[in-house]
């Protein structure tokens, strides 16, 4: 079982070496003559205003909160999906009830106008 994850580890290692190797080879091979013009962000010739790290709209916060709740729901969908074949209709009905109860929350958010971008 955990042995299977050696492939995941291998994949991870190759991925890291692939990216790091690209950067290092680039860094070794390229000439370096930085100037203000060259190091500024290029966006189709437009001059950038400020940094790219801006403050995002606070509205996203509620979407993040709702996302967290449904993320937890997905955790329970996983074991259900694994045994769904063995348990059949009973398990299906249970999961429908589970999701229906959570859907009430989504309907509440909808009715309260949370999902609308004002």
């Amino acid at each position: 079982m955990p042995e299977d994850y050696l492939w995941v580890a291998l994949f991870l290692g190759v991925g890291v070496v692939f990216v790091a190797g690209g950067f290092i080879a680039n860094w070794v091979a390229r000439p370096s003559h930085p100037s203000d013009r060259k190091s500024s962000t290029y966006e189709c010739g437009e001059l950038p205003i400020g940094t790219s790290w801006i403050q995002f709209n606070v509205r996203y916060y509620l979407f993040a909160l709702i996302f967290v709740i449904f993320d937890v729901e997905v955790v329970f969908l996983f074991p259900w999906a694994v045994v769904f074949n063995q348990l059949g209709l009973f398990a299906f009905v249970e999961m429908v009830i589970f999701i229906a109860i959570l859907a009430i929350g989504l309907i509440y958010a909808w009715r309260k106008g949370i999902l609308k971008w004002v």
Partner: protein, 167 residues
């Protein structure tokens, strides 16, 4: 995975976890701290896998990295203009904190030494996800459905607290 392989894996993952945890409390850019926190969580998920706890590892990635760390990132990017600032993570209370941390270390080492580490005679459970699924949908149906009610309460509570008061 037994013997030397497991030990090597443990030390690699534990090393990544400890180094990234130190980065979390020492880096000066909050966004970098949060990304180090995600790396630490990932290393701990790897530790769970070496302990045959696939489901817990999946939950660790999904909840801690997918939800908690993302929520932290959201909070940092939404609330304060901290993203491109250097912030010193230490203050003037170094002496006191060293003493407290030392006491905590002493306590933990004492507990570790005094605990008798029994090895369970039970065989390691394979395929934890399907076992959990089976139990959740048969023996523990009622708690399972109750979870959705708890989540519903969380969702509505979060909406009530977080939305702007219009009425």
């Amino acid at each position: 995975m037994e013997g030397i392989g497991q030990i090597i894996t443990f030390y690699i993952l534990a090393g990544i976890a400890v180094i990234s945890a130190i980065l979390v409390i020492s880096l000066r850019n909050l966004v970098h701290c949060v990304i180090s926190l995600a790396l630490m969580m990932l290393a701990i998920a790897g530790l769970y896998i070496t302990l045959f706890a696939e489901f817990i590892a999946m939950v660790q990635i999904l909840i801690y990295i997918g939800a908690v760390v993302v929520l932290f990132l959201f909070l940092i990017m939404l609330t304060l203009r901290l993203t491109d600032k250097d912030i010193k993570q230490t203050n003037e209370q170094k002496g006191i904190s060293f003493i407290l941390a030392g006491l905590l270390l002493f306590l933990l080492v004492t507990v570790l030494n005094r605990t008798s580490w029994n090895i369970s005679p039970e065989a390691v459970v394979e395929n934890t996800t399907s076992k959990i699924g089976n139990l959740l949908l048969t023996t523990y149906v009622f708690p399972f459905e109750l979870i959705s009610v708890v989540l519903l309460a969380c969702l509505i509570g979060a909406i009530v607290i977080a939305r702007k008061d219009k009425d």
